[in-house]
Point group: D2
Chain length 355, copies 4
């Protein structure tokens, strides 16, 4: 049963494989009569695309989005927005050696077993290339949310053991001031150094992204299953390579006592601390929403690895191709896109709470 | 817009407030013609209920489930199973002092703001009492999964800073051999000691639960949004007091290199390590599924706390009533129930992959 | 895969069998902070219940609804409303003769074949008794819609060949002034006479119900699949014994030319005729919504009929028990309930069209 | 809230406007590893396209579908199938006169009122052009169903008052042997004559389509709301210009007695008559499914008509452009496509009835 849609009112359905003709999506439930800035949408896509800096994969994709419907004279009409991003890089020969092979910690084995068939070129449907469609939808969602005051700050919080010691809301300019997308230049430099070292070893490294969202209206989130942070968690865990999610105090809450952890109220309804991460009982409380997402190291190595074929024979997989030593900086726009889609969906869901 | 349902094929809808007439639910999409063991279902509920040991709340609820439909001569008919659990404890006077007050880090404020009205008795709909309905559905799901070989091991992994140093699959007998539900008697004793200390202080403490699931068929999970671990993450994050979720290596993956983290294959398709936690590309790979869930300390303290009223006046909230110093042991059956509902739902979803 | 829920925002899930412990439902997505008139809800149920007049089945059911949740101090809280209607009539011996038999034009055969098991008592889940739960939800929906001005007029339009020659909006008092629920006393008398004749023969007869809805706001309905009349059609066709649905001109449109059929505009946006039945392009246009629903004759006869057993042996089924010669008058509140649920759902769906 | 998706497991989402860049869709939940015949898909589209005979609109569209994803080496992969049909006819000047006008019995008024904006070119999203995407998905569904033996026979049953007096299953060759798609050559000729007469008058005429489906497995349909004929009814009523739907005996059931209407069993479980139309209790019983769909006359006339502008001023609309005097022959592949999508979806839904 299909799982290619996300959202209930603002609903994105994506399609497309890494080396197919095009990837794309349909966004249904788009609020009507709103003007879109297409340059901003494209610039979000550019943040995710390969080849943007020395430390990422040099695969060439211009990643130009084409809108096919749902927009009339620059405005949304309420009809579904269909869009495609053509794949320019369809050199299928690069992947002939993977036709019969299962790459370790990739989805090759599970797709083959589940579907009985798989598009092995560049990971096919399991490729993170699919997330470009999410960035398009997220960029639209973000524009709509900005018009009601919601603001996002998403940045690299950790690479390997190097961590930023702050969970503040940083301006986009600061985040984009270095190729790591870490708002502290000093920490960013250390992270970059680590990635370069790992890359030289033909190895990869994981990291974490923090997302802080300000000005979220009070009341978003639908108990008891569709709690706001539950859906944010699902949104993040659906991104390739994500292994963990925590909201507010997160795993640190384990070691805290209730008397430390409780967020006491100011008389205006704000709280003195924000261990809740902006959400109480699954509903936004007006404080900044803050969560952290853990990414594992990329599975594709520039080293040879032992593996097996479809027939179960042991083989040696060589490391070749154009790959990222660390995807975390490129994942920043994806995390922000999924957060924006989720928040906008709950914003729209909240409209039917009262008659 | 409503959020009281979970699952797509095996679908649970719950209703009911902490101090209303009854809580309950409807399970739709139940596979037909299967025999149910009602004693086992009740025994799962008993694991969650209050008053079961010296360290938990002494609120008296017998928590007897009554099935109203969907079962004929002991077997499921494929029709929806409706059930209720009557609330015996409806002493509403206990809560008169909360009518106008917002308790810190509870959902009082957000429910009032969102809905413009709230059932303040015992937290109303936001009370963890609702999770009893999940345990009923989970117990049914677990019986069905057991008949196809799937087995669960869910236990307390951490209380405060005291952590079990193992992620093994433990037998239920071992887990149930102490009131903490930690399979290591020595560690459990330390945890119990910690909870008693915290309780004496009128304070509370958080913890973590690990769930290990064996024999999950290969192929469960629906790319790209409904990845198996994304839905498991949502399931867990929808449980009261949960602040974090990690699958397999989880947040530890941050500091690992790809060459360490990759799970190399054996020639039979199993893997030599299991950092993936039994899921690759969002699809189960046949290895044990292993995840960890973080619970914050309970927000209700037996200490007085500063707070505010609906009118925004500062007040002093006294600590009274019957409350848990640590909910983590009682949350074990809830985590297992939500895991079972999720796995069964994906098991049924997977049936339509082929014509 | 389950089919026991209806609606997307205002969502009803029902459960329960004809002769089980209770039937009931959960309504999720109920707008918050609205007062309910419980006597009105019960009186709607009374219109549907058996034994209300000489021409309907004399099965005794008091059909008292009990609300379990979602209501606090007489008002909706936004939490799901759970409710049950206990079955008083559980004399299962009445149905022992049907354990092995398939009744013609009932669902006995298809349920047995689909599920491999069936609750044969009184038709089990396939009994029209389930529709009592729809009447409860519909009565709630209707109250909410009334508060925004929407009004319903639902009545018997045809029994056998006797038809009312009008599609007007009639007041409830007129409709309820006779046991047929036909607003023209003369026509109603003829219909009653026909039903009595058919009944004496141990036979049954079909009929049609018309529903006219005034003051529906312009703009309800979601292209392209969830057109307002498409969902109304589904709602009606999901009612037991319904064989046809037509909106506005309906099947008469077949023989009309476009120049006759087109509804020309007045300058205020209303139309001079209403062949569209209040819906254009799937969206309400502010004119009265008007549709007609065809019911087949009841399948249970007071005559003996040839049939077969589960084993495929020919048998003679005797006509016995307490049954309706014509269900159409009792189906009036069901049609109105499903219409109200549908309209309210679209009313709420329309709230997210604009940011 | 969005309504551009149909189906639960085999799920089609469409996008696109009449005169936009392209229309298209995404089909999610496609069973994996099945070979597709692309020529057959295109030939279904050709049956729907304009300009195919003298009696239909002469708008030029080659309607060539391009598949973008979900297919690998000619087989489905289980990933979503994205496809587009470029619009060749984008002469927007044709529609400048409609920018400010509302056409009678079109969706111009309701779209403008609902969304506050509308793409007025050729009806934008409300145009029947959207149904081409349904035909693509239906052609895929039909191929899959054919592989399990299900066969469709869909034909014109009535134009104006001229009706075919048979509800048989006709072979495709017979149906396609004339431009009316009526399997009786004599009746077809009368229908064609009528359409030509109406056309000469600058007028339009309605009609009905019958669909007969053989070899549907017993057991499809999900009580109580998702009855097979309820979903078929919704599918049909979602097609442009449809005003009515009836299953089996349909509106004729009104005048029948139960003793006539009941379908008595043969000892093999088949029935002697088929007033039920192949569905009992909402579940297929193995007999041919037979339903009829009523289409109103096309609203666009080649005559001048009175109408109003957005500002509420009375205007005279001239009849010009390229339009159908009767859409019913071109609607045959649309009806069949929606039927196939519905049946396949229920076929897949039925797979999870048993564990």
């Amino acid at each position: 049963m299909a799982g290619s849609s996300f959202g209930t009112i603002f609903k994105l359905s994506t399609f497309g494989e890494s080396h197919g003709i095009a990837i794309g999506g349909v966004i249904d439930g788009v609020p009507a009569n709103l003007e879109l800035d297409f340059e901003v949408i494209q610039s979000e896509l550019d943040k995710r695309k390969p080849g943007q800096s020395a430390i990422v994969t040099q695969r060439k994709e211009s990643d130009k989005v084409q809108f096919l419907s749902g927009i009339f004279e620059g405005k949304t009409t309420g009809a579904p927005i269909g869009f495609i991003i053509p794949n320019e890089n369809q050199k299928s020969n690069d992947y002939a050696h993977l036709k019969e092979a299962f790459r370790p910690s990739h989805a090759d084995f599970t797709y083959q077993e589940k579907f009985g068939i798989r598009d092995y070129k560049g990971g096919g449907r399991s490729s993170a290339r699919e997330t470009a469609s999410r960035v398009v939808a997220g960029a639209i969602a973000k524009q709509m949310l900005q018009s009601v005051g919601v603001r996002f700050s998403t940045y690299v919080d950790q690479i390997g053991k190097i961590q930023l010691n702050s969970a503040d809301f940083y301006q986009s300019e600061l985040i984009e001031s270095n190729i790591i997308r870490c708002p502290d230049a000093q920490v960013a430099a250390e992270m970059e150094e680590l990635i370069r070292t790992v890359r030289k070893d033909g190895d990869t490294i994981g990291g974490a992204i923090r997302c802080v969202i300000e000005n979220v209206p009070i009341g978003l989130g639908e108990p008891v299953f569709d709690k706001l942070h539950a859906e944010l968690g699902k949104a993040m865990l659906s991104i390739n390579a994500v292994k963990g999610f925590e909201i507010g105090s997160g795993f640190e809450a384990l070691t805290m006592r209730g008397s430390e952890h409780n967020d006491l109220f100011n008389t205006d309804g704000t709280t003195k601390t924000n261990h809740s991460g902006g959400i109480q009982g699954g509903i936004s409380n007006g404080m900044p929403i803050s969560f952290r997402v853990a990414f594992k190291p990329v599975a594709t190595l520039m080293q040879s690895q032992e593996s097996i074929t479809i027939q179960g024979e042991a083989i040696e997989l060589e490391g070749k191709g154009r790959h990222d030593a660390c995807v975390v900086p490129r994942a920043v726009p994806i995390v922000e896109a999924m957060a924006a889609i989720t928040i906008l969906d709950f914003y729209l869901r909240n409209k039917s709470i009262h008659l």
